[in-house]
């Protein structure tokens, strides 16, 4: 693959992530977009294209939510597109934004991601059930937790990983989030607290699950000639990758996310990365459930298969470890407004590489990071490599 032009991230913004926001989805989008713009050195009139990521319409109860939200994302009277691959949407959006600029069609792109899950009552989970096959699976009384529980169990079984080892991810991420101004569920918890929390769908317990959230995130992308002019510290998009696996999910071995590996290999090849575990300095893998961080570290080739739990136990993935993982606090700590959560990870890499992450800053001046999101029916991996 030969990208046409270099593309940089030059600004980023977030709202708070909240259980129930007073603001509408449009207002949240506007806050995040405005913050990203004001940090970018560009003005709204300089934005030539807009990409919006937002997950199922059923959450908001608004059909064609992308169009409904467009005004809040600055999409009015501009080339505008919605990126949507379920939970993978947040990182899919920067991939689409990259296309807008790398292709030479536009010099700038505003990328916004929003989710407002609290509108759907009593719980947005029921809106998820229609991802299952209507004839062969839904009549069994499915719920969304099942797929995570089935995948987690398979992962634990194949690698002989214990619940204690997985609980360490919740402990780390919830603690990291204490330093994040947007965080919804940051707290100091122990492995014992996690293992004593209520069983939802064994082996999944309450403190191993990210919350439902309202929130928005945004970034500004610019072509090289603009980025070098307006930004002191542009963060370059070095690689992108994405991949979708079959929806016959009961025919796949869920212990390993093959499709994440394929997406990662695509991004690493573009970035010229040969040994990801050495050349990637910080990682923000998608962590809607505690085991998913480990699962995705392996899919991203940051360690060998089955090794992520051991690295976590050794402290390698702490902010001061050799490979900081989810220094933001991740979805488990900051929260999970679905599409916005994926783009929040991109924002975190942006701030970390610029040395602007404040109390969350990892030591050692990281030069390169990877962000990844995941979604659909345990199917899609979306990956971006950023570097300075």
């Amino acid at each position: 693959m030969k990208p046409y032009r270099k593309v940089a991230v030059i600004g980023a913004g977030l709202t708070k992530f909240m259980r129930r926001a007073l603001e509408t989805g449009r207002e949240l989008s506007f806050y995040a977009a405005k913050e990203a713009l004001s940090s970018s050195g560009l003005k709204f009139k300089d934005i030539q294209s807009v990409v919006m990521a937002t997950a199922p319409d059923a959450f908001d109860g608004v059909h064609m939510k992308g169009e409904y939200l467009a005004d809040g994302a600055g999409g009015f009277k501009r080339p505008y597109m919605r990126s949507y691959v379920g939970g993978g949407s947040g990182v899919f959006a920067i991939i689409h934004g990259w296309y807008m600029v790398a292709s030479g069609m536009f010099d700038t792109c505003l990328v916004v991601a929003e989710e407002k899950m609290s509108s759907c009552q009593p719980h947005p989970q029921a809106a998820f059930n229609s991802i299952y096959d209507h004839t062969l699976e839904r009549p069994l009384g499915v719920n969304l937790l099942w797929i995570f529980a089935l995948e987690m169990q398979r992962y634990m079984h194949v690698h002989k990983i214990s619940e204690e080892e997985i609980a360490l991810v919740s402990v780390k991420n919830k603690k990291n989030a204490l330093d994040h101004p947007s965080a919804q569920v940051a707290e100091e918890v122990t492995v014992k607290d996690v293992l004593n929390s209520e069983i939802m769908a064994w082996p999944v317990r309450r403190l191993m699950v990210s919350p439902t959230s309202d929130g928005a995130a945004a970034i500004v992308l610019a072509a090289e000639h603009i980025a070098r002019r307006v930004s002191e510290k542009p963060v370059w998009i070095e690689g992108i990758g994405w991949c979708l696996d079959t929806s016959f999910w009961t025919n796949r071995d869920l212990y390993y996310p093959d499709y994440v590996e394929k997406a990662a290999r695509m991004a690493y090849e573009m970035a010229g990365i040969k040994e990801p575990s050495k050349e990637i300095h910080i990682a923000e893998p998608y962590d809607p459930f505690a085991y998913k961080e480990l699962h995705h570290m392996e899919g991203l080739l940051l360690c060998k298969r089955g090794e992520a739990a051991k690295l976590t136990a050794k402290g390698v993935t702490q902010r001061n470890g050799d490979l900081p993982v989810c220094p933001s606090g991740g979805l488990l700590g900051v929260g999970n407004p679905i599409a916005a959560a994926g783009l929040m990870k991109v924002c975190e890499i942006f701030w970390q590489l610029r040395g602007e992450a404040g109390k969350r800053q990892v030591p050692g001046n990281p030069k390169r990071g990877v962000a990844q999101a995941w979604g659909d029916l345990m199917q899609v991996g979306t990956v971006v490599v950023l570097g300075i």
Binding site: G13, L14, T15, K16, F17, M18, R19, R20, A21, L22, E23, Y31, E35, S39, G61, S118, Q121, P122, H123, Q125, A126, N129, H134, T135, L136, E137, P139, L140, G141, V142, N143, L145, W146, A149, L150, E151, Q153, R154, H157, P181, S182, Q184, E198, I199, M200, A201, W202, P203, V204, D214, G215, T246, F248, T250, N251, R252, D253, L254, W351, E356
Partner: protein, 165 residues
């Protein structure tokens, strides 16, 4: 960085205007060629798979085309109604997020006669949750023939097959 947003307290949220929205939606989903025949098989008490001549996989649930080889499939194979638990969960949450006293045990079951690793989603029954293991041998428990309608629920659940651990 400035992060905006007003997080409502539970009481405030209770006072928001709520609109009940019950669209009357009726979907007539076609089962299609492959799943249609699979459902007919279930009505007759059989689990049908389909073989790909190109990659030689025997697949269930059956499909009209092989997604790997991208060729049409039409070679039907009758599978057994037994299999092994590939993975499972013990779920205390219902589909609409109510707490369940008696858990449900969803599982991916690799069906005997299909290729290794090829399974379907179903439920386990007649087993204590703590006794379920990955790799456990199970057998389908069918509805009475007169009650079967050609649906996945014509199999009530899978139960442990004793003496064949």
């Amino acid at each position: 960085m400035k992060v905006r947003g007003k997080d409502l307290k539970k009481d405030d949220f209770e006072r928001t205007i709520k609109i009940e929205y019950h669209p009357k939606l009726l979907y007539a989903w076609d089962a299609g060629y492959a799943v249609g025949k699979f459902l007919q098989g279930l009505k007759e008490g059989k689990i049908l798979g389909i073989r790909c001549r190109k990659c030689d996989r025997i697949l269930v649930p059956p499909r009209a085309f092989c997604e790997l080889c991208f060729v049409p499939l039409d070679e039907w194979v009758e599978l057994k109604d037994t299999g092994r638990v590939n993975t499972f969960s013990i779920s205390y949450i219902s589909w609409d997020v109510r707490r369940l006293e008696k858990p449900e045990i969803p599982a991916v079951i690799e069906i005997d006669g299909a290729s290794p690793g090829i399974g379907i989603l179903h439920l386990l029954g007649e087993v204590k949750p703590e006794e379920v293991k990955v790799g456990m041998k199970v057998k389908a428990v069918w509805k009475k023939e007169s009650e079967r309608i050609g649906a996945i629920t014509d199999i009530l659940y899978f139960k442990p097959l004793k003496g064949e651990e």
